[in-house]
């Protein structure tokens, strides 16, 4: 009986050690700030953020007309310019027939 109890205790102890190890390993692979880090936004959310920012910029003429110290158009203004469809017309037909976007391997 004493032998059986001893064997039981050994098995229990090993089992507890094993559980402890598993918990430790699990904790080791989790980043410490896991609870605070944000998930990576998906492409649609990032696209929505850009569109929203573009609209904000459009409503703010000061930003649009801003020049840098060298008198060059700022990147913000540049993006607005890219977003202006009238500018797209300067591409003439090119942008339109390349909406197909793919000439194959011509």
């Amino acid at each position: 009986m004493a032998r059986l109890l001893s064997l039981y205790e050994r098995i229990r102890n090993w089992f507890l050690v094993l559980i402890g190890l598993l918990i430790g390993v699990q904790a080791g692979v989790q980043p410490t700030n896991a609870s605070t880090s944000k998930p990576v936004p998906a492409i649609p959310e990032r696209v929505a953020a850009v569109r929203s920012r573009m609209q904000e910029i459009q409503k703010n003429p000061a930003l649009v007309e801003q020049k840098n110290a060298k008198g060059e158009t700022t990147l913000v203004a540049q993006w607005l310019n890219w977003g202006n469809w009238n500018n797209w017309r300067n591409w003439g037909n090119w942008s339109s027939w390349n909406n197909w976007g793919n000439w194959g391997n011509y």
Binding site: P39, V50, W82, W85, S96, W100
Partner: protein, 410 residues
Amino acid sequence: MSAGSAGSPCYGSTEKGVKLLVLQPTPFCNIDCDYCYLANRLSTKKMLPAQAVEIVDRLFSAGVVGSDLSMVWHAGEPLTLPPGYYREAFTGLAARRYPFTIRHSFQTNAMLINDEWCDLFQQWDINVGVSVDGPASIHDAHRKDRAGKGTHARVMEGIRTLQRRSVPFHAIAVVTAESLLHPEDVFNFFLDTGIDRLGFNIEELEGANNTSTVSGANPLSIRRFFECMAECQERCQHKISIREFENARAAIQGYCYQPGSLLDMRNDQTQSMAILTVAWDGSVTAFSPELIDAKSKDYGDFILGNILRDPIAEIFSSPKFKQIHNAIEEGCKRCSETCQYFSVCGGGAPSNKYFENGSFESTETMYCRSVVQIPTDIMLAQAERELGISVPQGLPELGRPRQDRPVQTA
């Protein structure tokens, strides 16, 4: 304001009807690029100029043309027909006084360009695209004549003639395994040549071209290629506009149709009649122009009828058209359900889906990854940086693909 009242349809225009008419005046090509997808490029058959006019007449009578029509003269090599051929066709079309504007475009290897061609380009305000892959070492690896000699020197003569005559043009370069190894050389070639509008077509598995030097390349190399283009573009202060980046910017911004109107991308290749492609004999296909010359185990071919013979309504209500259309719609639906890039793409390129994945109902292709996803990733990161949007934490470092995916099939 409609796109029509303001000029040519804009990128992603919501206007319905035929917007792009690709005509093949002849399948013949004077050179023999090893990646060409056209099987019949030795054939010297040709469409008559009057037939080109008749095709537009039929579309107009059927009421399927919007307010603007782009006509792309795509062969073979369109300049293997004489300038007089086009003069006759253009004059015939102009005499019709259609209530829509027509803009003509040529995509040419430039080898036959001379002053007479420049006269025609200028007189008719032709939109000219030159196919040139970069410096001679890269271009001549694939773009050869029938004697197996490189064509670069002769292409450059044509380019110099265009420049001497101040004819505006853009270039389209096929990106092959050689280009991927030397991206900076490719960019510098175009910069040094004075070309300021550039498009890249990744060598694709399409039609007669059933192998691609790029498909075996490291998937990162295409991303690195486009990243290098973006860096070079910034370094030279955007002296060169790159079509893939322009398209990505416009799609990200959602600007379409009119300022302030934000729309998701409308993809003409997935619309039933936005793009029509007509072969020299009047055979017509829709959706992707590359389907014109392709054979298929499922459909036989992709010819929907003969536009010179069959009523337009009949062509677009045929069981074959419906079968293809339904399959493409199903593919788009699956894209919309599974692809993060759907709002900036609109459903990919049907021809690539078919040739790469074996079905229009499939989703992602090499074309999607290289022409839509990578430029979108690069431009999105650029927008976030330049517009002061906080860059999301945990994004993969620019240059790493989101994940390597196996080719999907339906």
